[in-house]
Amino acid sequence: MLYAPLIIIVLFSFTESKVIGNWTGFSVQLYGNLFSGATSVKLIRALVNTLLIALISGMLSTLLGSVAAVGIFNLRNRTRKIIQSVSRIPILNADIITGVSLLLLFVSLGISRGFVTVVLAHVTFCTPYVVLSVMPRLHRMDPNLYEAALDLGATPSMALRKVILPEILPGIISGFILSVTLSIDDFVVTIFNIGNEGLETLSTYIYNDARKGGLTPELRALSTIIFIMVLTLLIIINRRAQKKQPARNLK
């Protein structure tokens, strides 16, 4: 049931018809169109924008969030609680509110909306997730390790790089992956902050396309490719995770 719609998309990516549900014979024309022709230019540009925004905002949020996690971890109780609850707002809040509130910020500051505002908006809702995924690592770490490094003559920054960083690295990596995923998937926050200078991400492209009535048939081919790539990636990750930590699944 969950997969029926996806299967239909994959199925109808192999026929040329304009609308889904109308089989006009097997063809890989749509896949060909992805790489040449007018639609391809627009689609590829939207795809590149999406990935670029995801990578840049992912890196920024990871940097900001990881550094912040170390800082928050060492804060006194009260300040820590305040920052942590403010940090939870973008997670709990509805996308539409985040989108509208950031739009108002950019409008009142007189910043014209475009690539930069979208990246900033994505960093806003991704960073809290990075903090959340790094924090447990810090809690699990033996606090004596850092002290030991200092006692052995390491400078604080050296101890940070050589002791703390390796310990929290898995959290940083999963925070980054999470940010990139959230950014790629986002539509609501993006549409409010993208402005109208012709910048399109994949989701805004799909949205505008669908609103005009009818979906560009090539999108079926593109989503099939994305779907298969995600599937393979997840299978690989899952396999490796199961191999690495068999103990966890024994419970």
């Binding site: 719609p5 996806l6 800082g71 060492n74 509805a94 509110i97 509130s101 806003t124 989701s203």
Partner: protein, 259 residues
């Protein structure tokens, strides 16, 4: 000179949060309480409450969101329960199967649902709307419940059995109460997006049914920022109320979180 301690690492993020989270929320409040020319007014709220259509849309969206959440609980709980039972689910593969669709852009998933309805010649309307929402948000209900059921101390169930409880009693008196925090965060994860969504409704009903999110988006799109902010503020209050209600239920929510 003061030495830089690791505490100061939190500073950039604190500034960032103030600028991009706190101030924007205050801006919503400010815009909602002012007229376009800048003087204080309540006319934005008056406008909302004087238009029966706007209020109706709001009530209707609430209804749709509640129905969707209920359906998600009714379908999601049994699924999570089965998934958490090691007898049926030896590996994580089944769980992965339920998470997987989440990785596809939700617009594409929604359009695929539209295609499915077209394919089956079912007209788009209320039913397709609820179906599409449930389809989109069901994983967000399953995961928190699954997480909490999996982390549950199995000894408690055995203890209940040893004390003579029949399977139904075990479920009602032990499993269900213990899993409520998971249900609470599931409700949050489903109710919030459904109440505020606009794209899904537009696509699934060919814009025949308007939800509250659509109204907000339209007023913002037409540069009615003050009115749009007033509507956003109303939604914000609703979200705040839901958060308070559900987090009281799940005060130990850490175990029930999605991530």
């Amino acid at each position: 000179m003061k030495r830089i301690t690791r505490k100061s690492y939190a500073l950039p993020y604190a500034v960032f949060l103030a600028l991009f989270v706190v101030i924007p929320l205050f801006l919503i409040l400010l815009y909602a309480l002012t007229a376009p020319d800048g003087h204080w007014t309540l006319q934005n709220f008056a406008k909302f409450f004087s238009q029966t259509q706007a209020v109706n849309t709001f009530v209707y969206s609430l209804g749709i969101a509640m129905i969707t959440t209920m359906v998600c609980i009714l379908i999601g709980y049994p699924i999570a329960y089965i998934l958490s039972n090691p007898r049926y689910n030896r590996s994580q593969t089944l769980v992965m199967l339920f998470i997987l669709p989440m990785w596809i852009n939700f617009l594409l998933r929604t359009l695929a649902t539209v295609a499915l309805f077209d394919f089956l010649r079912i007209p788009l309307g209320e039913f397709s709307l609820v179906f599409g929402m449930v389809y989109n948000f069901l994983p967000f209900m399953i995961l928190p419940i699954y997480n909490i059921l999996q982390k549950m101390d199995k000894n408690l169930i055995e203890a209940a059995q040893d004390l003579g409880a029949n399977p139904r009693q075990v479920f009602l008196k032990t499993t269900l109460p213990l899993s409520l925090p998971g249900v609470a965060s599931g409700i949050m994860m489903v109710f919030m997006p459904t109440i505020s969504t606009f794209a899904i409704a537009e696509l699934l009903t060919v814009n025949n049914i308007k939800l509250f999110g659509t109204v907000i988006q339209e007023s913002i799109n037409n540069n009615l920022w003050n009115y749009g902010s007033a509507l956003s503020l109303i939604m914000l209050l609703l979200i705040g109320a839901t958060t308070m209600l559900t987090s009281r239920e799940g005060s130990s929510r850490e175990g029930g979180g999605l991530w």
